[in-house]
């Protein structure tokens, strides 16, 4: 049998030359007339090692990286097919501490399988969750998801099972499952990785969701900046259709579940669920007031489950291994695993799937290896552009929804962006307001006008114009945005602003005047 050489086709790997590496490997195999094949897998999530090449050997997969096309011939010289030593050799992939110390449930297959191989998927426990679900009543599936403690991984952390139950109970001639794949938070990539690396798990999760609530149609709303994910998903969906896992009598269930990918409209706000629904319906991506909840009146006014990619991709393992298995990970009311995405000024950027409860410090230092520049860490922003800036003294906060909330922060979608001592938090606060102004849908007043006024006010503070008064104005403005905004964009923008003022007052008081 041919030896398998794995080179990721994940966007992160491609951006650092994975295609060129793959081409070089193909050439070597041909020239050397070797019995080997290249498999384009997803990413393992160790971005500093990309492109990461792996070769399958009897003792396991051996990793080499970061690869360059130039290094490829020497790799073959060194005996790649037998997993021999080389300057770039990292040993057995599974033994790399970064990976070994993770608890990969949702990402169990990501980076390992050929994303478009249904047989790979099935051979590694794929569709086991669905098989179990088929034996269960809709209520039982919902109960299982509820018991698992799974909460919305998009950022809001709303219990998935409860949302599903609302849709299940809602009356409607038609119901929908909508997957929010408009991953727009800075420093996040988990959704993209799973869509590119293990698309079937999302398809399976959505199918289970459909059966659980009585929905026959699903949509994946994927941001337009993810062309590879869209392409991979579309191909995976057509493979699923061809093999009877989608469509009428999906997976032999006797029920229908259709699935379609829709390309997003390129606005951050379309990641907000009601705005996303507006966009899916072909309108301007503008926030809808809630109530009515999308679970009652969602897409086209019908009961709709709107879940994040990771939430839906986690459903199969819950149905496969059982709610208890999943629930046993985590702490407090945050059950299961969090997909931490390390980015910014960090030495080892990448994806870390780990049970809730790990401290921020552990994530940054034990996995991330500290700042990339080697300078002192000054601030960390968790949860995307609307997350609070945490100073060094808060690094021992465990990654847990409630623990973060207690420190006026948010876990959000799990993005962790690290800044070293050169950062100016007044500028970061200004950036937060600017981001809000840029991405505001323009519907509600606090966000529409407030964000622009926020930028102006911070500018005045930076320029030391009436600083005391303007800090008070900024504070009042933040209160209006926090309590008055229609959605989380305006409502959370004060988080980075106020945390910057609170934890880094020196940046607002004269140092840059």
């Amino acid at each position: 049998m041919s030896v398998k050489i794995f080179i990721p086709c994940d966007m992160a790997a491609l951006s650092v030359g994975a295609d060129a590496v793959a081409k070089a490997v193909e050439r070597e195999i041909q020239e050397r007339r070797l019995d080997a094949v290249v498999v384009r897998n997803g990413s393992r999530g160790m971005f500093w090692l990309e492109p990461l090449l792996e070769v399958e050997t009897p003792k396991g997969r051996v990793a080499y990286g970061p690869m360059t096309p130039d290094a490829v011939p020497s790799l073959f010289e060194a005996g790649l097919l037998d997993g021999k030593q080389h300057a770039l050799c990292l040993g057995l992939t599974e033994e790399i501490p970064y990976l070994k110390n993770q608890e990969r449930l949702t990402f169990a297959r990501c980076g390992i399988v050929d994303p478009l191989s249904l047989s790979d998927y099935i051979s590694r426990d794929g569709y086991k969750g669905l098989q179990n679900a088929l034996k269960m009543s809709a209520e039982k599936i919902v109960e299982e998801v509820t018991n698992s403690g799974l909460r919305g991984r998009g950022g809001a952390g709303f219990p998935t099972g409860i949302k599903w139950n609302t849709v299940l109970k809602a009356q409607g001639s038609q119901k929908y499952i909508v997957c929010n794949a408009d991953e727009g938070d800075s420093g996040t990539f988990a959704d993209r990785m799973i869509m590119e690396g293990d698309p079937f798990v999302l398809i399976e999760g959505m199918t289970i969701a459909g059966f659980a609530v009585g929905a026959t149609q699903g949509y994946i709303y994927c941001r337009s900046e993810y062309p590879h994910a869209v392409k991979t998903l579309r191909r995976a969906i057509s493979i699923a259709y061809e093999n009877g896992y989608l469509g009428d009598n999906a997976a032999g269930s006797g029920k229908t579940f259709d699935l379609e990918v829709r390309m997003g409209a390129g606005a951050y706000i379309c990641g907000e669920e009601t705005s996303l629904l507006e966009s899916l319906e072909g309108r301007r991506g503008q926030i809808r007031p809630k109530p009515p909840l999308p679970a009652i009146e969602g897409l086209f006014g019908k009961p709709t489950v709107v879940n994040n990619v990771i939430s839906l991709a986690t459903v199969p393992i819950i149905l496969d291994k059982g709610a208890d298995h999943y629930k046993n990970f985590g702490m407090g009311r945050s059950r299961g695993t969090l997909t931490i995405q390390l980015a910014g000024n960090i030495k080892y950027g990448g994806l870390v799937e780990k049970a809730f409860g790990l401290t921020l410090r552990q994530a940054i230092y034990d996995f991330g290896g500290g700042t990339a520049t080697g300078k002192n860490l000054r601030a960390v922003q968790v949860g995307g552009p609307l997350g609070a800036y945490f100073p060094e003294k808060l690094l021992d906060t465990p990654l847990d929804y409630e623990a973060f909330a207690a420190k006026k922060g948010l876990v959000g979608h799990g993005g962790v962006v690290v800044f070293d001592e050169t950062v100016n938090l007044a500028k970061q606060a200004r950036f937060a307001m600017e981001f809000c102004a840029e991405e505001s849908c323009g519907k509600c007043t606090p966000c529409r006008i407030g964000s622009t006024r926020g930028v102006e006010t911070i500018d005045r503070i930076i320029k030391n114009e009436d600083r005391t008064k303007n800090l008070e104005v900024l504070n009042d403005l933040c209160e209006v945005m926090l309590d008055g905004s229609l959605c989380a964009l305006g409502g959370l923008t004060p988080y980075p602003v106020l945390s910057a003022v609170e934890h880094f007052p020196e940046d607002f008081h004269g140092t840059t005047a």
Binding site: P446, G450, E479, L486
Partner: protein
Amino acid sequence: MALLHELDYGTPASTSQQLVTLDIDGQSVTVPAGTSLMRAAVEAGVNVPKLCATDSVKSFGSCRLCLVEVEGRRGTPASCTTLAEAGMKVKTQSPKLAKLRKGVMELYISDHPLDCLTCGANGNCELQDMAGVVGLRDVRYGMDGNDNHFQKSSPRYVEKDLSNPYFQFEPSKCIVCSRCVRACEEVQGTFALTIQGRGFDSMVSPGGTDFLDSECVSCGACVQACPTATLIEKSVIAKGQGEHSVVTTCAYCGVGCSFKAEMQGEEVVRMLPYKDGMANHGHSCVKGRFAWGYTTHKDRITKPMIRKNITDPWKEVSWDEAIAYTASEFKRIQQKYGKDSIGGITSSRCTNEETYLVQKLIRAAFGNNNTDTCARVCHSPTGYGLKTTLGTSAGTQTFDSVTDADVVMVIGANPTDAHPVFASLMKRRLRGGAKLIVIDPREIDLVKSAHIAADYHLQLRPGTNVAMINSLAHVLVTEKLLDEKYIQERCDLEAYAKWSAAMAQPKNSPEAMESVTGVPAELVRGAARLYATGGNAAIYYGLGVTEHSQGSTMVMGMANIAMGTGNIGRLGVGVNPLRGQNNVQGSCDMGSFPHEYPGYRHVSDEATAQLFEGAWGVKLEREPGLRIPNMFDAAVDGTFKGLYVQGEDIAQSDPNTKHVEAALGAMECVVVQDLFLNETARFAHVFLPGATFLEKDGTFTNAERRISRVRKAMAPKNGLGDWEITQRLSNALGYPMSYTHPEEIMNEIARLTPTFSGVTYARIEELGSIQWPCNDKAPEGTPIMHIGGFVRGKGNFVITEYVPTDERTTAKFPLILTTGRILSQYNVGAQTRRTENNVWHAEDKLEIHPFDAEHRGIRDGDLVTIASRAGDIALHAKISERIQPGVVYTTFHHAVSGANVVTTEFSDWATNCPEYKVTAVEVRLAKRLSEWQEQYREHSELTRRIGSPVAGD
């Protein structure tokens, strides 16, 4: 009354039957489930501050002023989007809320010019009000140096859009509440407005162009919804705010919208649709809201005039002289040519009281039944057809009924142009999921418009309506889609048996009729199935049904299928004529027809005749009088010599103009009572200036039988109300009338008409409006007719044999001309042509299909001749695919067009309603206007001269 401000509940009413009780600021209030906290608060007497909410559109939740606190809940939810729940405890005021609201207002004002004192909305601005309510005292962001939309130096500043003749758009004052956008979508259904850009860039835009070039239909819903001066009437900019309001009823179409005339003394500042108006619920169209300038137009004649010959210049005389002259002429003519040699035409634009008086004048003072009205040329077949089948000469439903329809069938009507306010209501229901079947030769807007698409468009050949209705009936009968139980209970079974046997004949099948109608049989079958099985099915129809040689037959055909499928007698169903003029229903009700007394009782009915003889104190004629076309024929024959025409322009609106002109020219005394020297006045010997609807009291009855008050807002510019003029004429003729107010006339009507016996001004005042029948059995009126049984007893199925019209295409006249209306102009255009509405429709054009145009070498904009066997005219061509090859289409709003020069004398077999919708014509390139058009210009000039008043006269 003072300036009227209807209470704004902030969000629409909930229709839920379930009630919930909650506590708002310590007050217990009970509201239907689904009511917003904001609305519940208003019910409890508490006004929560708001800007983006108004009860004509759905809650939006954008301004964030209406935040409240709910006990046991986190945060400060918006009261407009949060629904009331049983047991909720809501606080609308707290220090926290006060701070948030002030903060929101501070943001608003930081992007708003501070020119309140010179602003058009001063005194009527919600932004101003809210700044006051929240106690905003300081804008700490400053007003200078900030990014904003209002300083001319700002890159965001956008100039005013003055393109619409009636209102302006000033983006720099916009607070982006989207009320205008939502009103355009939800209230009007046009979707002309949008928010352009995102975030702080967000701007209201009429689709990236100016208002005039946009899809905007100038209904004014956006202007009404605007809380600031951003969208504001130019009349208010010019004159300022009104100081008192007069609630009255629109004098345009049969929708009968209720309006508030906002006045400064005797001058109208603006017309605002009245929220409590049951026909329009606070909505209006471009005509009613804006096109009232004709009431003070310089063309208006305010002094009576007489002349011996129509080629003489007019001579202004006193009222006494004019009346005395008229009376003497009528007496002379009757003496010379007999009692039946004169007659009159009542006006469907005048009030019920005035119409009643004119027919009374004719029957009692003229001593004959030669009375008719414009319904002759529009909905007389409706009267005949619905009376014959159901028992009442009127539509079965209230307008609101359409919101309960599941299938809407629109036949030969173009509601978005001709009945725009009802069309908006219908479109809302269609967007809400009702199915739509359109039967029309032309692709009217409804077939495909924003968020609406017809499920079936049966694009039949003009003149084949009855073939179509019979095909539909054939499917219903043969596919057993009829409601047998309903028929058994409520219909005449013998008639039903005959009808169903006739309809089942193979000759009526869609397949057999396909070659006649030109509509694929499968579509007809599909439409019939949908009509019968789609739930509540409602038929709405217009002049495309009635103005045919088989107009009455078609009306009965529709009534047949509605009865057969059980679609009469409850909400959401029915057979509904969309009647043309503001009071055409009323003029029919009031006995304008030559064969009927008020309340549709035949003149030969002895009991009725005696009732009126007793009341009026004269002997009355038992034989029917002449209908309008019969009058013309008799005039040409020389037996009809005198005519009193109140508010109707027969010379323009009636078919076969040359014949009409010959008839008018043959008369010895034509008396025209009108606002303007209309076309008929060219042939008149006496001109009696009329009063506008703003100048008198009375009532109008709309297409849903709704009697609404018309209230005097100013003194008549001509000195007299129209009813007073009729009364004077009657007295001069020796038949005394002594009414001192129209109310006395209504009391007489009620006394003599069983369906009106409960109608009084006091009762209308109390109920807002009343739908007849209103009597002891129905003291509050009757929104839906035929509940539980038909007015005539058993529903009567009438066999509707298809008899093709004799108006057929030939080698000489190979095309079919059909006519219709347009939104901005109203009928003969006497009113709208004297307003700024001309910017939308300055001339009548001929729509011709590209195929027919190319064949004749016609390009868009070419002058073309349209010739029929009756005559020819020239119009500019408009190439259009809205009509099929073989069919051409035009409007008839402009007198100079002379559209009726082309139409012929053929008419409905039962009522003589002209066959306007089918004329065989040829179209060819023209070099100049037609002979008639040229002569018209000359004649018009000659006959409209007004001589200088004689000194001391």
